[in-house]
Amino acid sequence: MPDMRFAPPNPLRIADRAAGLNAVSVRSYNERLVLSLLLQKEATTRLEIGERTGLSAQTVSVLVRSLEQEGLVAKGPAQRGRIGPPTVPIVLNPEGAFSVGISIGKRHIDLVLIDFVGEARFHSRLPHPRTDPGNNHSRFLETIRAAITMLPETARTRLAGVGLALPRNETGERDEGIHALQEEIEAQLGISLFIQNDITAAASGESMFGAAKSLTDYMFFYLGAKLHGRLVLNHQIYNGNSALSFDVGIDALEAELSEREKPLEPLWDSSDDWSAYRGLIDGWEDGVVDQLKQSLAAVTQFVECETIILSSCVPLGIRQDICRKLQHSLPGVSAIIGKPTPSPKAVGAASLPFSSRFTVE
C-alpha cells in the first residue's frame, strides 16, 4: 500500500485558468458559503470569512484564490487601521456574473439585465403580457436576446441564467403558457430559467442587492396594484401558504380617482409624476399606512420585528410619505424604501439565478 499522504495531489478545485464560470456541479459548498457572505455584505475579509464559516485561514485562502481566478471576486485596497495589521477587503466583481430578470405584471412585462452587484445594465418594458403559446413569444425572446447582446462577447459565458417573476395564480391552475415559454427560452437561448412568485422575487432582490442586504429580520412589503407582504427571518423569505394581499394598492387608488374623473395613465406609466392627484391621495396613503401597521402588529405578536422595507413602483415622493407616516405613528420602527431599480420585481427575478448558482440555501 502506498502512503496515501503522498498520493497525487487532489485539489479542492479545478486549478485551470480557463475563462468563464465553472459548471454548476463543480461549485463546492464552501465556495457558495463565501459567495453568500459577499452577497450579504458590501465587502468582507478573509479573517471574517474564516470566523463566520469556521474554515481555516488556509482553506479560505484556497477558496478566495479560486473565486478570484474565476473573476467572481476581487481584492479591494488594504485598509490600514491605527493598530494591528491592515485588512484587505474582498468584494464581488460586478463583471463576474450577469443575469436576466423578467417580471410579468398585469399591464406590462419588465425585463432587466443586471450585473453581479445588482446594477441594471439594460431595461426594457413590453406591453401586452400575454403568455399563451405562440402569441408574442418571438418578440419576448428577441428582447431577451437584445439584453444578452448588450453584454460584451467575453461576458456572455458569464450569464448565470434567466429569472422569471410571476404574479400569484388565483385559480391555482398550472399555466401552460408559462411552461411553453420556459421550454422555448431554454431550448432557443440555451439558458436555464428559474421561476418564482413575483413578490417573493422582489423580496429576494431586496435582500441580495437592496436596502435589506445587511438585515436579517424584517417585513417586506410590495405596493403594487395591491399591497403584499413577506416576512423575512434570518435572511429566509417566508412565502406562506396564504400569501395575503390587501386591496389598498394602486387598484384602490384608481377606483377612487376614476370616480373623480382624473386621468389614470400616470398611475401605471412609470412617469413618476402624480402631480395631477395633488391633494387627493392623502387619504389613500393613510389607508396603506393603516394596513402596514395592522400587518406589522400581527407579526410582532410572534416575532420581534422593527424594520419594514417598502418596495414599490409608485413615485419616490409617495414612498417617502408613506414611510414617514408609518415611522411617525410607530416610534421605534424603521421604515426603509426599497432600493433596486428600475423594476424591483424584475431585478428580484434576476437575483434568482444568482441564489441558485452561487449561494447556500
Binding site: P11, L12, A57, V62, A78
Partner: protein, 240 residues
C-alpha cells in the same frame, strides 16, 4: 560596525518595544522564509559570496513592509533542494533534513514561507515539475507533523513558486538542461499542490523575474517586488 541603524530607527525600535511590552510580546509574530539562493540573496552573475544587503533581500523587504510587529527569519541556502540529497553538492543541501531542526530552533512560528524548486530541476535529479511539487508537499507534511506553530498547532504555510528561469543560462546550461521549460510549469504544479493540501500559495513569477545576466537569480529589483507583494499576501491572510 555594531549598529546599522540611525538614531531615528533606534527611537522607533525602543518605542515599539515599549508598546509591545504593554500589550505583551506574544503579539509579535514570527515568519520563517525557507528557500535557496534566491532567498539567500545571491547577486546574479557574481561569485558565491556576493550577497545583497539584508535590507535588499526579499525577507528584509518583507520585514520592512510588515513593520515591527513581525519577526522575519531568513533561511536561504544556495543550491537547496526540496527533499533530494545532492550527489555533487552534498547532503546539507537537502531541504527536508535541514527543515526539521530549523523549525525546532525557531518555534513557535506563525507562518512558514517556502520558495524552493529551482535546484530540483538540475539534470542530475532528472525530475519533472510535478515531482518537484511532490517534494514541496513532503515539506508541508513534515511541518504539519511537527506542528511548530503557536500552542503546538500547525502553523500557516505559504508555498511560493519561484520565478521561471530564462532560456539562456550561460555556463549553467548543462547543469540545468531542460530546466527552463520545467521551471515554467512549477507555478501550476505548486498551485495544484497548495490547493490540495490547503495551504497558501503565491506565484513569484507574477511580480518578479530572474535577471538575464545569469538567467536564474533575482536582482535587487525583483527582491524588492517580491518582498512587497508577499507582505500584502501575508496581511491578506487575516490575523486575529
Amino acid at each position: 560596525m555594531p549598529f546599522m541603524s540611525s538614531d531615528a530607527d533606534w527611537v522607533r525600535q525602543l518605542t515599539s518595544c515599549f508598546y509591545y511590552g504593554i500589550t505583551g510580546w506574544d503579539m509579535m509574530r514570527t515568519i520563517l522564509c525557507f528557500g535557496d539562493s534566491n532567498t539567500y540573496g545571491q547577486i546574479p552573475g557574481q561569485g558565491p559570496l556576493d550577497r545583497y544587503q539584508l535590507c535588499q533581500r526579499w525577507p528584509g523587504v518583507l520585514a520592512r513592509e510588515l513593520g515591527n510587529a513581525w519577526h522575519v527569519i531568513e533561511e536561504g541556502l544556495s543550491g537547496r533542494t526540496t527533499v533530494r540529497d545532492d550527489p555533487i553538492e552534498g547532503t546539507p543541501k537537502n531541504g527536508r533534513s535541514y527543515l526539521w531542526p530549523c523549525l525546532m530552533s525557531h518555534a513557535p512560528i506563525d507562518l512558514i514561507i517556502i520558495m524552493l524548486g529551482t535546484n530540483d530541476l538540475k539534470i542530475r535529479f532528472n525530475q519533472p515539475a510535478s515531482e518537484v511539487a511532490m517534494g514541496i508537499g513532503c515539506l508541508v507534511h513534515d511541518i504539519n507533523d511537527l506542528a511548530p506553530g503557536p500552542n503546538a498547532a500547525a502553523p500557516e504555510i505559504m508555498v511560493v513558486s519561484p520565478p521561471p528561469m530564462h532560456d539562456d543560462l550561460k555556463e549553467w546550461e548543462q547543469i540545468f538542461r531542460d530546466a527552463p521549460r520545467k521551471s515554467r510549469e512549477l507555478a501550476l504544479q505548486f498551485e495544484i499542490l497548495a490547493d490540495s493540501l490547503e495551504v497558501h500559495f503565491f506565484d513569484a513569477g507574477s511580480v518578479a523575474s530572474c535577471d538575464p545576466i545569469d538567467g536564474f537569480h533575482m536582482n535587487s529589483e525583483a527582491h524588492e517586488a517580491l518582498g512587497s507583494a508577499l507582505a500584502r499576501e501575508v496581511e491578506a491572510i487575516g490575523w486575529k
